[in-house]
Symmetry: C2
Subunit: 278 residues, 2 copies
Protein backbone atom coordinates (compact mmCIF):
# COMPACT_ATOMS: atom_id res chain seq x y z
CA UNK A 1 0.00 0.00 0.00
CA UNK A 2 0.97 3.61 -0.43
CA UNK A 3 0.59 5.24 2.95
CA UNK A 4 0.67 8.97 3.61
CA UNK A 5 1.54 10.41 6.97
CA UNK A 6 0.76 14.02 7.85
CA UNK A 7 2.78 15.35 10.78
CA UNK A 8 5.98 13.45 11.47
CA UNK A 9 6.15 13.87 15.24
CA UNK A 10 6.48 11.09 17.79
CA UNK A 11 3.26 9.39 16.64
CA UNK A 12 3.46 10.07 12.90
CA UNK A 13 7.16 9.24 12.80
CA UNK A 14 6.59 6.03 14.73
CA UNK A 15 3.71 5.08 12.41
CA UNK A 16 6.16 5.45 9.51
CA UNK A 17 8.98 3.55 11.23
CA UNK A 18 6.77 0.66 12.22
CA UNK A 19 4.87 0.35 8.92
CA UNK A 20 7.85 0.54 6.60
CA UNK A 21 9.18 -2.98 7.30
CA UNK A 22 5.94 -4.39 5.82
CA UNK A 23 6.82 -3.13 2.35
CA UNK A 24 4.48 -0.16 2.25
CA UNK A 25 5.55 2.95 0.39
CA UNK A 26 5.63 5.73 2.96
CA UNK A 27 4.92 9.35 1.98
CA UNK A 28 5.50 12.05 4.56
CA UNK A 29 4.09 15.56 4.77
CA UNK A 30 5.24 17.97 7.47
CA UNK A 31 5.50 21.76 7.30
CA UNK A 32 8.95 21.64 8.93
CA UNK A 33 11.59 21.17 6.20
CA UNK A 34 14.15 19.87 8.73
CA UNK A 35 11.75 17.13 9.76
CA UNK A 36 11.27 15.98 6.16
CA UNK A 37 15.03 16.14 5.55
CA UNK A 38 15.74 14.05 8.67
CA UNK A 39 12.97 11.55 7.88
CA UNK A 40 14.35 10.98 4.39
CA UNK A 41 17.97 10.76 5.52
CA UNK A 42 17.03 8.24 8.21
CA UNK A 43 14.96 6.27 5.70
CA UNK A 44 11.84 6.74 7.88
CA UNK A 45 9.87 7.78 4.77
CA UNK A 46 10.31 7.07 1.05
CA UNK A 47 9.19 10.49 -0.19
CA UNK A 48 8.25 13.69 1.55
CA UNK A 49 7.41 17.33 1.18
CA UNK A 50 7.05 20.31 3.48
CA UNK A 51 5.06 22.54 1.10
CA UNK A 52 2.96 20.44 -1.24
CA UNK A 53 0.33 18.22 0.42
CA UNK A 54 -0.58 17.13 -3.14
CA UNK A 55 1.98 14.39 -2.59
CA UNK A 56 -0.75 12.67 -0.53
CA UNK A 57 -3.13 12.53 -3.53
CA UNK A 58 -1.97 9.09 -4.66
CA UNK A 59 -2.04 7.42 -1.22
CA UNK A 60 -4.36 4.53 -0.37
CA UNK A 61 -4.37 5.45 3.30
CA UNK A 62 -3.49 8.81 4.87
CA UNK A 63 -2.85 9.05 8.60
CA UNK A 64 -3.28 12.59 9.86
CA UNK A 65 -1.05 12.66 12.95
CA UNK A 66 -1.74 16.20 14.17
CA UNK A 67 -3.37 17.71 17.26
CA UNK A 68 -7.19 17.40 17.23
CA UNK A 69 -8.07 20.89 15.96
CA UNK A 70 -5.26 20.82 13.38
CA UNK A 71 -6.46 17.39 12.23
CA UNK A 72 -9.97 18.73 11.64
CA UNK A 73 -8.65 21.76 9.76
CA UNK A 74 -6.22 19.76 7.65
CA UNK A 75 -8.84 17.24 6.55
CA UNK A 76 -11.43 19.94 5.77
CA UNK A 77 -8.95 22.08 3.85
CA UNK A 78 -7.53 19.23 1.80
CA UNK A 79 -10.66 17.09 1.34
CA UNK A 80 -10.53 17.48 -2.44
CA UNK A 81 -6.97 16.21 -2.53
CA UNK A 82 -7.44 12.66 -1.26
CA UNK A 83 -7.61 9.80 -3.76
CA UNK A 84 -10.98 8.27 -4.62
CA UNK A 85 -11.78 5.31 -2.34
CA UNK A 86 -8.82 6.11 -0.09
CA UNK A 87 -9.00 6.01 3.69
CA UNK A 88 -8.15 9.04 5.85
CA UNK A 89 -7.52 8.23 9.51
CA UNK A 90 -6.79 10.41 12.54
CA UNK A 91 -4.93 9.73 15.80
CA UNK A 92 -6.80 12.13 18.11
CA UNK A 93 -7.12 11.51 21.83
CA UNK A 94 -10.64 13.02 21.82
CA UNK A 95 -13.31 11.66 19.51
CA UNK A 96 -16.74 13.25 20.03
CA UNK A 97 -15.50 16.73 19.23
CA UNK A 98 -13.38 15.68 16.25
CA UNK A 99 -16.05 13.41 14.72
CA UNK A 100 -18.74 16.07 15.15
CA UNK A 101 -16.52 18.68 13.48
CA UNK A 102 -15.99 16.43 10.46
CA UNK A 103 -19.57 15.15 10.32
CA UNK A 104 -20.32 16.66 6.91
CA UNK A 105 -17.33 14.86 5.38
CA UNK A 106 -18.53 11.34 6.21
CA UNK A 107 -20.12 11.05 2.79
CA UNK A 108 -17.12 12.17 0.74
CA UNK A 109 -15.65 9.85 -1.89
CA UNK A 110 -12.85 9.00 0.53
CA UNK A 111 -13.63 7.27 3.83
CA UNK A 112 -12.84 8.75 7.24
CA UNK A 113 -11.84 6.29 9.96
CA UNK A 114 -11.28 7.51 13.49
CA UNK A 115 -8.72 5.79 15.66
CA UNK A 116 -6.60 6.44 18.75
CA UNK A 117 -3.21 4.82 19.32
CA UNK A 118 -2.73 4.83 23.10
CA UNK A 119 0.96 5.54 23.23
CA UNK A 120 3.23 8.51 23.52
CA UNK A 121 6.47 9.82 24.88
CA UNK A 122 7.52 12.84 26.95
CA UNK A 123 9.51 14.18 24.02
CA UNK A 124 8.38 15.96 20.88
CA UNK A 125 9.27 15.71 17.21
CA UNK A 126 10.59 13.21 14.71
CA UNK A 127 13.62 12.34 16.83
CA UNK A 128 11.24 10.91 19.42
CA UNK A 129 9.86 8.42 16.86
CA UNK A 130 10.69 4.90 17.92
CA UNK A 131 10.58 1.38 16.57
CA UNK A 132 8.51 -0.82 18.85
CA UNK A 133 6.73 2.15 20.48
CA UNK A 134 3.37 0.44 19.93
CA UNK A 135 4.33 -3.09 20.94
CA UNK A 136 1.53 -4.58 23.04
CA UNK A 137 -0.17 -1.21 23.39
CA UNK A 138 -3.90 -0.55 23.03
CA UNK A 139 -5.52 0.85 19.87
CA UNK A 140 -9.10 2.10 19.75
CA UNK A 141 -11.25 2.51 16.64
CA UNK A 142 -14.45 4.58 16.98
CA UNK A 143 -16.59 3.67 13.97
CA UNK A 144 -19.24 6.02 12.61
CA UNK A 145 -22.43 4.87 10.93
CA UNK A 146 -21.13 5.38 7.39
CA UNK A 147 -17.99 3.26 7.87
CA UNK A 148 -17.55 0.17 5.70
CA UNK A 149 -16.24 -3.07 7.19
CA UNK A 150 -13.41 -3.05 4.66
CA UNK A 151 -12.00 0.33 5.73
CA UNK A 152 -12.22 -0.56 9.43
CA UNK A 153 -10.44 -3.84 8.68
CA UNK A 154 -7.67 -2.03 6.78
CA UNK A 155 -6.93 0.24 9.75
CA UNK A 156 -7.14 -2.68 12.16
CA UNK A 157 -4.65 -4.67 10.06
CA UNK A 158 -2.23 -1.73 9.85
CA UNK A 159 -2.47 -1.27 13.63
CA UNK A 160 -1.57 -4.93 14.11
CA UNK A 161 1.39 -4.52 11.73
CA UNK A 162 2.58 -1.58 13.81
CA UNK A 163 2.67 -3.85 16.83
CA UNK A 164 -0.45 -2.87 18.76
CA UNK A 165 -1.49 -5.68 21.08
CA UNK A 166 -5.22 -5.06 21.39
CA UNK A 167 -7.69 -3.35 19.07
CA UNK A 168 -11.00 -2.20 20.58
CA UNK A 169 -14.09 -0.87 18.83
CA UNK A 170 -16.31 1.53 20.77
CA UNK A 171 -18.42 4.66 20.26
CA UNK A 172 -16.86 8.12 20.38
CA UNK A 173 -18.64 8.82 23.69
CA UNK A 174 -17.40 5.57 25.23
CA UNK A 175 -13.89 6.40 24.04
CA UNK A 176 -13.90 9.87 25.59
CA UNK A 177 -15.26 8.51 28.86
CA UNK A 178 -12.66 5.71 29.04
CA UNK A 179 -9.70 7.87 27.96
CA UNK A 180 -10.82 10.68 30.25
CA UNK A 181 -10.27 8.26 33.09
CA UNK A 182 -7.15 6.35 32.00
CA UNK A 183 -5.21 9.09 30.25
CA UNK A 184 -6.49 12.61 30.89
CA UNK A 185 -7.17 12.11 34.60
CA UNK A 186 -3.71 10.58 35.09
CA UNK A 187 -2.09 13.60 33.47
CA UNK A 188 -4.20 15.98 35.59
CA UNK A 189 -3.15 14.05 38.72
CA UNK A 190 0.54 14.15 37.83
CA UNK A 191 0.39 17.94 37.25
CA UNK A 192 -1.55 18.52 40.45
CA UNK A 193 0.86 16.38 42.49
CA UNK A 194 3.86 18.25 41.11
CA UNK A 195 2.17 21.63 41.69
CA UNK A 196 0.81 20.88 45.19
CA UNK A 197 1.74 23.35 47.92
CA UNK A 198 3.80 20.73 49.78
CA UNK A 199 6.40 20.65 47.00
CA UNK A 200 9.57 22.55 47.87
CA UNK A 201 13.29 22.79 47.13
CA UNK A 202 14.05 19.81 49.35
CA UNK A 203 11.51 17.50 47.71
CA UNK A 204 14.11 15.93 45.45
CA UNK A 205 15.98 14.58 48.48
CA UNK A 206 12.93 12.89 49.97
CA UNK A 207 11.55 11.09 46.92
CA UNK A 208 11.71 7.48 45.81
CA UNK A 209 10.51 5.64 42.72
CA UNK A 210 6.83 6.18 43.57
CA UNK A 211 6.98 9.95 43.31
CA UNK A 212 9.14 9.74 40.18
CA UNK A 213 6.67 7.35 38.52
CA UNK A 214 3.60 9.38 39.44
CA UNK A 215 5.08 12.63 38.15
CA UNK A 216 6.81 11.39 34.99
CA UNK A 217 3.89 12.70 32.91
CA UNK A 218 3.84 16.02 34.79
CA UNK A 219 6.38 16.87 32.06
CA UNK A 220 3.55 17.64 29.69
CA UNK A 221 3.09 19.18 26.25
CA UNK A 222 0.82 22.10 27.16
CA UNK A 223 -0.41 22.78 23.62
CA UNK A 224 -1.67 19.26 23.06
CA UNK A 225 -2.99 18.53 26.53
CA UNK A 226 -4.80 21.81 27.15
CA UNK A 227 -6.65 21.09 23.90
CA UNK A 228 -7.45 17.49 24.88
CA UNK A 229 -8.64 18.53 28.36
CA UNK A 230 -10.86 21.34 27.08
CA UNK A 231 -12.35 19.30 24.25
CA UNK A 232 -13.41 16.65 26.79
CA UNK A 233 -14.26 19.14 29.55
CA UNK A 234 -17.71 17.89 30.47
CA UNK A 235 -16.74 14.25 30.96
CA UNK A 236 -13.30 14.99 32.40
CA UNK A 237 -14.51 17.30 35.18
CA UNK A 238 -16.93 14.58 36.32
CA UNK A 239 -14.17 11.96 36.14
CA UNK A 240 -11.95 14.20 38.31
CA UNK A 241 -14.81 14.46 40.81
CA UNK A 242 -15.16 10.67 40.93
CA UNK A 243 -11.43 10.35 41.62
CA UNK A 244 -11.62 12.96 44.39
CA UNK A 245 -14.54 10.97 45.91
CA UNK A 246 -12.35 7.87 45.85
CA UNK A 247 -9.42 9.73 47.43
CA UNK A 248 -11.71 11.21 50.09
CA UNK A 249 -12.72 7.65 51.03
CA UNK A 250 -9.05 6.95 51.75
CA UNK A 251 -8.71 10.25 53.61
CA UNK A 252 -11.74 9.62 55.81
CA UNK A 253 -10.45 6.17 56.74
CA UNK A 254 -7.07 7.69 57.68
CA UNK A 255 -8.69 10.49 59.68
CA UNK A 256 -10.87 8.03 61.61
CA UNK A 257 -7.90 5.64 61.98
CA UNK A 258 -10.20 3.02 60.48
CA UNK A 259 -7.66 0.32 59.75
CA UNK A 260 -10.21 -2.20 58.45
CA UNK A 261 -11.56 0.15 55.77
CA UNK A 262 -8.06 1.23 54.78
CA UNK A 263 -6.93 -2.36 54.41
CA UNK A 264 -10.00 -3.33 52.39
CA UNK A 265 -9.41 -0.38 50.03
CA UNK A 266 -5.79 -1.49 49.63
CA UNK A 267 -6.75 -5.11 49.03
CA UNK A 268 -9.25 -3.97 46.37
CA UNK A 269 -6.71 -1.73 44.60
CA UNK A 270 -4.14 -4.55 44.69
CA UNK A 271 -6.67 -7.00 43.21
CA UNK A 272 -7.63 -4.58 40.42
CA UNK A 273 -4.01 -3.73 39.62
CA UNK A 274 -3.05 -7.39 39.43
CA UNK A 275 -5.94 -7.99 37.02
CA UNK A 276 -4.50 -5.38 34.64
CA UNK A 277 -1.44 -7.55 34.06
CA UNK A 278 -3.36 -10.79 33.52
Amino acid sequence: MKIGIVGLGVIGGSYALNLKPYGHEIVGYDTNPDTIKYAREQNIIDHGDHEQPDILGTCDVVFVCLYPQDTVQFIKRHASLFKSNSIVCDVSGVKEDVMLSLDNLYVEYFELVFAHPIAGREVRGIKGAKKGLFNNMNFIITPHKKNTPGALKTIEDLALEMGFGHISFMSDAEHDQAIGYTSQLTHAIAMALMNASDYNDQTKFTIGDSYRDLTRIARINEDLWSELFIKNAYKLTHIIDHFIDSLNQVKTAIKEKDEDTLKSLMIESTKRRNALDE
Copy 2:
Protein backbone atom coordinates in the same frame (compact mmCIF):
# COMPACT_ATOMS: atom_id res chain seq x y z
CA MET B 1 32.02 -4.45 61.74
CA LYS B 2 29.62 -7.06 62.97
CA ILE B 3 26.19 -6.01 61.73
CA GLY B 4 22.92 -7.53 62.91
CA ILE B 5 19.79 -7.38 60.81
CA VAL B 6 16.37 -8.05 62.30
CA GLY B 7 13.74 -8.95 59.73
CA LEU B 8 15.11 -10.21 56.44
CA GLY B 9 12.43 -8.87 54.09
CA VAL B 10 13.02 -6.71 51.04
CA ILE B 11 14.72 -3.97 53.07
CA GLY B 12 16.58 -6.09 55.64
CA GLY B 13 17.65 -8.60 53.01
CA SER B 14 18.86 -5.80 50.73
CA TYR B 15 20.75 -4.18 53.62
CA ALA B 16 22.55 -7.52 54.12
CA LEU B 17 23.22 -8.05 50.40
CA ASN B 18 24.61 -4.56 49.89
CA LEU B 19 26.72 -4.41 53.09
CA LYS B 20 28.34 -7.83 52.80
CA PRO B 21 30.75 -6.92 49.96
CA TYR B 22 32.43 -4.43 52.34
CA GLY B 23 33.72 -7.22 54.57
CA HIS B 24 31.25 -6.81 57.41
CA GLU B 25 30.12 -9.91 59.28
CA ILE B 26 26.36 -10.12 58.79
CA VAL B 27 24.12 -11.69 61.43
CA GLY B 28 20.46 -12.24 60.58
CA TYR B 29 17.47 -12.69 62.85
CA ASP B 30 14.05 -13.50 61.45
CA THR B 31 11.24 -15.53 63.04
CA ASN B 32 10.69 -17.40 59.78
CA PRO B 33 13.04 -20.44 59.66
CA ASP B 34 12.74 -20.69 55.86
CA THR B 35 13.96 -17.12 55.52
CA ILE B 36 17.05 -17.80 57.64
CA LYS B 37 17.70 -21.03 55.74
CA TYR B 38 17.44 -19.25 52.37
CA ALA B 39 19.57 -16.30 53.53
CA ARG B 40 22.35 -18.63 54.68
CA GLU B 41 22.20 -20.81 51.57
CA GLN B 42 22.36 -17.76 49.33
CA ASN B 43 25.24 -16.32 51.39
CA ILE B 44 23.17 -13.20 52.14
CA ILE B 45 24.12 -13.53 55.84
CA ASP B 46 27.01 -15.18 57.65
CA HIS B 47 25.04 -16.45 60.63
CA GLY B 48 21.37 -16.45 61.50
CA ASP B 49 18.70 -17.64 63.85
CA HIS B 50 14.92 -17.71 63.88
CA GLU B 51 14.47 -18.28 67.63
CA GLN B 52 17.36 -16.70 69.55
CA PRO B 53 17.73 -12.94 69.17
CA ASP B 54 20.71 -13.30 71.57
CA ILE B 55 22.75 -13.76 68.42
CA LEU B 56 22.50 -9.95 68.06
CA GLY B 57 24.23 -9.39 71.41
CA THR B 58 27.72 -9.19 69.91
CA CYS B 59 26.85 -6.85 67.03
CA ASP B 60 28.31 -3.34 66.68
CA VAL B 61 25.30 -2.14 64.73
CA VAL B 62 21.82 -3.69 64.63
CA PHE B 63 19.36 -2.64 61.92
CA VAL B 64 15.80 -3.39 62.93
CA CYS B 65 14.04 -3.79 59.57
CA LEU B 66 10.48 -4.37 60.76
CA TYR B 67 7.19 -2.46 60.44
CA PRO B 68 7.04 0.61 62.72
CA GLN B 69 5.04 -0.88 65.62
CA ASP B 70 7.01 -4.13 65.49
CA THR B 71 10.24 -2.13 65.49
CA VAL B 72 9.21 -0.30 68.67
CA GLN B 73 8.19 -3.55 70.36
CA PHE B 74 11.31 -5.44 69.32
CA ILE B 75 13.67 -2.73 70.58
CA LYS B 76 11.79 -2.35 73.89
CA ARG B 77 11.61 -6.08 74.52
CA HIS B 78 15.25 -6.76 73.69
CA ALA B 79 16.84 -3.56 75.00
CA SER B 80 18.93 -5.51 77.54
CA LEU B 81 20.35 -7.69 74.80
CA PHE B 82 22.25 -5.12 72.72
CA LYS B 83 25.99 -4.78 73.21
CA SER B 84 27.35 -1.88 75.20
CA ASN B 85 28.12 1.13 72.95
CA SER B 86 26.43 -0.52 70.00
CA ILE B 87 24.12 1.33 67.63
CA VAL B 88 20.54 0.24 67.03
CA CYS B 89 18.93 1.73 63.93
CA ASP B 90 15.42 1.49 62.47
CA VAL B 91 14.10 1.80 58.89
CA SER B 92 10.60 3.15 59.62
CA GLY B 93 8.72 5.32 57.16
CA VAL B 94 7.18 7.33 60.04
CA LYS B 95 9.40 8.99 62.61
CA GLU B 96 7.50 11.12 65.13
CA ASP B 97 5.41 8.20 66.38
CA VAL B 98 8.33 5.75 66.50
CA MET B 99 10.74 8.18 68.19
CA LEU B 100 8.14 9.21 70.76
CA SER B 101 7.41 5.56 71.56
CA LEU B 102 11.09 4.87 72.21
CA ASP B 103 11.76 8.14 73.99
CA ASN B 104 12.65 6.54 77.30
CA LEU B 105 15.32 4.37 75.64
CA TYR B 106 17.40 7.29 74.30
CA VAL B 107 19.59 7.16 77.42
CA GLU B 108 20.31 3.41 77.33
CA TYR B 109 23.90 2.20 77.10
CA PHE B 110 23.35 1.53 73.39
CA GLU B 111 22.57 4.38 71.01
CA LEU B 112 19.37 4.59 68.96
CA VAL B 113 19.69 6.16 65.51
CA PHE B 114 16.59 6.71 63.41
CA ALA B 115 16.83 6.49 59.65
CA HIS B 116 14.63 5.92 56.62
CA PRO B 117 15.87 4.30 53.41
CA ILE B 118 13.55 5.60 50.67
CA ALA B 119 13.32 2.48 48.59
CA GLY B 120 11.08 -0.52 48.28
CA ARG B 121 9.54 -3.01 45.93
CA GLU B 122 6.03 -4.32 45.27
CA VAL B 123 7.07 -7.77 46.48
CA ARG B 124 7.53 -9.10 49.97
CA GLY B 125 10.12 -11.28 51.69
CA ILE B 126 13.76 -12.23 51.36
CA LYS B 127 13.41 -13.22 47.70
CA GLY B 128 12.67 -9.58 46.91
CA ALA B 129 16.03 -8.50 48.34
CA LYS B 130 18.18 -7.04 45.61
CA LYS B 131 21.73 -5.91 45.02
CA GLY B 132 21.76 -2.30 43.90
CA LEU B 133 18.27 -1.60 45.26
CA PHE B 134 19.58 1.54 46.98
CA ASN B 135 21.78 2.89 44.19
CA ASN B 136 21.32 6.66 43.94
CA MET B 137 18.30 6.55 46.26
CA ASN B 138 17.61 8.96 49.11
CA PHE B 139 18.34 8.17 52.78
CA ILE B 140 17.08 10.29 55.65
CA ILE B 141 18.48 10.38 59.18
CA THR B 142 16.33 12.03 61.86
CA PRO B 143 18.69 12.78 64.76
CA HIS B 144 17.43 13.12 68.33
CA LYS B 145 19.03 15.37 70.90
CA LYS B 146 20.99 12.59 72.58
CA ASN B 147 22.67 11.36 69.39
CA THR B 148 26.47 11.50 69.19
CA PRO B 149 28.18 12.66 65.99
CA GLY B 150 30.06 9.32 65.87
CA ALA B 151 26.93 7.18 65.76
CA LEU B 152 25.27 9.37 63.11
CA LYS B 153 28.47 9.19 61.05
CA THR B 154 28.57 5.39 61.31
CA ILE B 155 25.02 5.08 59.94
CA GLU B 156 25.74 7.66 57.23
CA ASP B 157 28.86 5.72 56.16
CA LEU B 158 26.99 2.42 56.05
CA ALA B 159 24.23 4.05 53.96
CA LEU B 160 26.84 5.26 51.49
CA GLU B 161 28.35 1.76 51.35
CA MET B 162 24.89 0.37 50.53
CA GLY B 163 24.77 2.71 47.54
CA PHE B 164 22.46 5.49 48.68
CA GLY B 165 23.07 8.61 46.64
CA HIS B 166 21.98 11.34 49.03
CA ILE B 167 21.86 11.43 52.84
CA SER B 168 19.67 14.11 54.45
CA PHE B 169 19.41 15.10 58.10
CA MET B 170 16.11 16.54 59.30
CA SER B 171 13.79 16.50 62.29
CA ASP B 172 11.21 13.74 62.76
CA ALA B 173 8.40 16.24 62.05
CA GLU B 174 10.08 17.47 58.87
CA HIS B 175 10.55 13.87 57.77
CA ASP B 176 6.90 12.95 58.30
CA GLN B 177 5.76 16.06 56.45
CA ALA B 178 8.06 15.44 53.48
CA ILE B 179 7.41 11.69 53.27
CA GLY B 180 3.68 12.24 53.73
CA TYR B 181 3.81 14.20 50.48
CA THR B 182 6.30 12.21 48.40
CA SER B 183 5.50 8.68 49.49
CA GLN B 184 2.24 8.32 51.44
CA LEU B 185 0.22 10.70 49.26
CA THR B 186 1.45 8.97 46.10
CA HIS B 187 0.30 5.60 47.45
CA ALA B 188 -3.08 7.07 48.46
CA ILE B 189 -3.46 8.53 44.94
CA ALA B 190 -2.60 5.24 43.25
CA MET B 191 -5.16 3.36 45.36
CA ALA B 192 -7.83 5.99 44.79
CA LEU B 193 -7.22 6.01 41.03
CA MET B 194 -7.50 2.24 40.84
CA ASN B 195 -10.63 2.21 43.02
CA ALA B 196 -12.39 5.14 41.32
CA SER B 197 -15.93 4.49 40.06
CA ASP B 198 -14.85 4.93 36.43
CA TYR B 199 -12.78 1.74 36.54
CA ASN B 200 -14.45 -1.21 34.81
CA ASP B 201 -13.76 -4.51 33.07
CA GLN B 202 -12.79 -2.74 29.85
CA THR B 203 -10.25 -0.42 31.49
CA LYS B 204 -7.34 -2.69 30.63
CA PHE B 205 -8.01 -2.18 26.92
CA THR B 206 -7.96 1.61 27.14
CA ILE B 207 -4.80 2.16 29.17
CA GLY B 208 -1.31 3.23 28.20
CA ASP B 209 1.91 3.64 30.14
CA SER B 210 0.59 6.61 32.13
CA TYR B 211 -2.14 4.63 33.84
CA ARG B 212 0.21 1.70 34.42
CA ASP B 213 2.86 3.98 35.97
CA LEU B 214 0.41 5.80 38.20
CA THR B 215 -1.15 2.58 39.53
CA ARG B 216 1.98 0.45 39.92
CA ILE B 217 1.98 1.17 43.65
CA ALA B 218 -1.77 0.49 43.94
CA ARG B 219 -0.46 -3.05 44.46
CA ILE B 220 0.15 -2.27 48.09
CA ASN B 221 1.07 -4.16 51.26
CA GLU B 222 -1.98 -3.35 53.37
CA ASP B 223 -0.41 -4.27 56.72
CA LEU B 224 2.53 -1.93 56.32
CA TRP B 225 0.77 0.96 54.62
CA SER B 226 -2.35 1.11 56.79
CA GLU B 227 0.07 1.43 59.72
CA LEU B 228 2.14 4.14 58.02
CA PHE B 229 -0.97 6.12 56.99
CA ILE B 230 -2.57 5.98 60.43
CA LYS B 231 0.64 6.82 62.31
CA ASN B 232 0.97 9.97 60.18
CA ALA B 233 -2.78 10.67 60.04
CA TYR B 234 -2.75 14.32 61.08
CA LYS B 235 -0.14 15.47 58.56
CA LEU B 236 -1.26 13.11 55.80
CA THR B 237 -4.91 14.20 55.78
CA HIS B 238 -3.79 17.82 55.37
CA ILE B 239 -1.37 16.83 52.61
CA ILE B 240 -4.23 15.04 50.81
CA ASP B 241 -6.31 18.24 51.12
CA HIS B 242 -3.50 20.30 49.59
CA PHE B 243 -3.30 17.89 46.68
CA ILE B 244 -7.07 18.04 46.15
CA ASP B 245 -6.80 21.86 46.15
CA SER B 246 -4.16 21.61 43.44
CA LEU B 247 -6.27 19.17 41.40
CA ASN B 248 -9.31 21.42 41.78
CA GLN B 249 -7.29 24.26 40.25
CA VAL B 250 -6.81 22.07 37.18
CA LYS B 251 -10.50 21.10 37.22
CA THR B 252 -11.71 24.69 37.44
CA ALA B 253 -9.50 25.70 34.51
CA ILE B 254 -10.92 22.80 32.46
CA LYS B 255 -14.50 23.64 33.42
CA GLU B 256 -14.04 27.28 32.46
CA LYS B 257 -12.14 26.28 29.32
CA ASP B 258 -9.42 28.59 30.56
CA GLU B 259 -6.61 27.57 28.26
CA ASP B 260 -4.11 30.14 29.60
CA THR B 261 -4.38 28.91 33.18
CA LEU B 262 -4.22 25.28 32.10
CA LYS B 263 -1.10 25.91 30.06
CA SER B 264 0.60 27.83 32.85
CA LEU B 265 -0.13 24.98 35.29
CA MET B 266 1.36 22.54 32.77
CA ILE B 267 4.43 24.69 32.19
CA GLU B 268 4.95 24.91 35.96
CA SER B 269 4.62 21.14 36.49
CA THR B 270 7.01 20.52 33.58
CA LYS B 271 9.56 22.93 35.05
CA ARG B 272 9.34 21.35 38.49
CA ARG B 273 9.57 17.81 37.12
CA ASN B 274 12.62 18.68 35.03
CA ALA B 275 14.30 20.13 38.14
CA LEU B 276 13.95 16.75 39.90
CA ASP B 277 16.29 15.16 37.39
CA GLU B 278 18.93 17.90 37.49
